[in-house]
């Protein structure tokens, strides 16, 4: 293998390892933002969705996504084959596996503290086996119909985060709010039990995101190196700007800089810049982050107070809304073809088509899966289990002793 290929492969592996670590970040954010009586359940969900996802994606999901685009269906789904083991593409399998697991694990947070463990495992399996690979195929396999249309989603604002976010929306809606979350039509606060653990999770996610975005270049040799470095800067600036604007907006509207919203602001910046991290300038990234940080705050309020959908960690807003937003903003800020750079509305239009069609798929497919699960094994734990906490009922254990 020549040196350049080795360099690229090594970069992909390192980036993939960083992305793997994001699982720890998601686990900490989710446990930190919820109550201690459900912590063990959340650990298990986040651990097992990665384990099941790793196996399922290797078993067949990877080829649903990246298998050849053949014949009539080729634009919509890859040609599957079992137990992928092409020794020359193991790095790619790894990198894509950790991405698939990210999409799956997002949902966990939105339905935390009330969902049956078995139900979650099955849903998570289907996410990595079917839901995620199919829309992923549309965008990231060169024969996918959105790819052919010229849709840009560099590292997955839409492919990964929005899919997770919209599935979260459907799931949180169908599972229903936690007991006590809405009384007399009013939304109540159910504070998380450990914001320090939550913020460690945010730092870990930020750390891993450098792999997520910069690894998505899938190369570092030759002139890719400067692109990769540029991605790291855009990623970092967007995250910083997202935190900044989320903090200031909460400072203005609640009179105090809000901690958990600021932490969500970091994620909003990261999710939003993911689509365009290689296509925008540092300044563009900064603006995308600023916008995302503001939008996420209002979106969280909107989902919570207007839609009355109970999303303990803000997954719908952080991943769905800012994922979509970030994808659209590529059409505005892309230095090549963006609205502000004289590219007109064409790119923006294509981006909108991509955002909408992927959302439709994620919402539709999740709905079908969850509807069937609801009618069969049920989505929700009993009232008693929910009140006492899932740990003691589903796992017969306390996390803290």
């Amino acid at each position: 293998m020549d040196t350049n290929t080795v360099l690229d492969l090594m970069w992909i592996l390192i980036a993939g390892i960083l992305v793997f670590f994001m699982q720890a970040g998601f686990t900490l954010v989710e446990t930190g933002f919820t109550r201690s009586k459900n912590t063990g359940n959340i650990i298990m969900k986040n651990l097992m969705d990665f384990c099941i996802g790793s196996i399922a994606f290797w078993a067949i999901g990877y080829t649903f996504m990246y298998g050849d685009s053949e014949g009539v269906f080729g634009s919509f789904i890859g040609r599957p084959s079992w137990f992928f083991d092409n020794p020359a593409e193991m790095h790619s399998l790894f990198f894509q596996t950790v991405f698939a697991a990210t999409a799956a694990t997002i949902v966990s947070g939105a339905i935390a503290e009330r969902t049956k463990f078995t139900t979650y495992l099955i849903f998570s399996l289907l996410m990595t086996l079917i839901i995620y690979p199919i829309s992923g195929h549309w965008v990231w396999q060169s024969g996918g119909w959105l790819a052919k249309l010229g849709f840009t989603d560099f590292a997955g604002s839409t492919v990964v985060h929005s899919v997770g976010g919209w599935a979260s929306l459907v799931a949180a809606f169908m599972v229903g709010p936690r007991l006590g979350k809405y009384t007399d039509g009013k939304s109540n606060a159910i504070p998380g039990h450990n914001l320090l653990i939550g913020s460690l999770g945010i730092f870990i996610l930020w750390f891993g995101w450098f792999g997520f975005n910069a690894g998505s270049q899938l190369a570092i040799s030759g002139d890719n190196a400067n692109v990769v470095a540029g991605i790291i800067i855009t990623t970092n600036l967007a995250a910083a700007a997202g935190a900044l604007s989320a903090m200031f907006i909460t400072w203005i509207i609640y009179g105090r800089p809000d901690i958990s919203m600021t932490l969500n602001g970091v994620l909003a910046g990261l999710v939003a810049v993911t689509a365009g991290c290689a296509a925008v300038s540092p300044f563009g990234a900064f603006m995308i982050g600023l916008i995302a940080g503001v939008v996420v705050v209002f979106s969280i309020e909107f989902v919570d107070k207007k839609l009355k959908i109970d999303d303990p960690v803000g997954a719908v807003s952080v991943h769905g809304v800012t994922g979509a937003l970030g994808t659209l903003l590529v059409g505005v800020f892309a230095t090549d073809g963006g609205l502000l750079y004289g590219g007109g509305f064409h790119k923006l239009g294509v981006q909108a088509i991509g955002v909408i069609s992927v959302a439709a798929w994620a919402i539709g497919a999740s709905f079908v899966v969850l509807f069937i699960l609801k009618k069969t094994i049920g989505l929700r734990v009993s009232k008693e289990e929910e009140v006492d906490g899932l740990d003691i009922h589903e796992h017969k254990t306390n996390v803290y002793n």
Binding site: D388, H395, K396, T397
Partner: protein
């Protein structure tokens, strides 16, 4: 004045609190305790299954003036109830004097 100490299921706390507010008992203190009693809770830890009677409970301490005693106890008895072993207990004892730190009021005035 009487002190009512109630040891209840944590999961019943919100209902009890609501019921107390309804009868205008808006002052009390609570904390979490471990209760030992008839109820057993099954646990598994690293292969050892065991059942423990050490169960997390919430302890409420409410000092009321005498006329409030009955309705307060009733409210708790009613709302903390599930009917299965482990619902908890209510204890009533006498309090000789009460002071409100802020106003230095004492006696039942301090409980208004």
């Amino acid at each position: 004045m009487k002190k009512i100490e109630a040891i209840i299921r944590k999961s019943k706390f919100d209902e009890v609190k609501e019921a107390l507010h309804q009868i205008e008992v808006n002052f009390f203190s609570y904390w979490d305790v471990t209760g030992v009693g008839n109820e057993k809770e099954g646990h598994v830890y690293r292969g050892v299954s065991y059942s423990t009677s050490d169960i997390q409970r919430r302890f409420l301490s409410i000092v009321v003036s005498d006329p409030f005693l009955e309705r307060t106890v009733d409210a708790i008895l009613k709302t903390a109830f599930t009917g299965t072993v482990g619902d908890g207990k209510v204890f009533v004892s006498n309090v000789e004097e009460v002071y409100r730190i802020r106003t230095k009021e004492s006696g039942s005035d301090a409980l208004k």
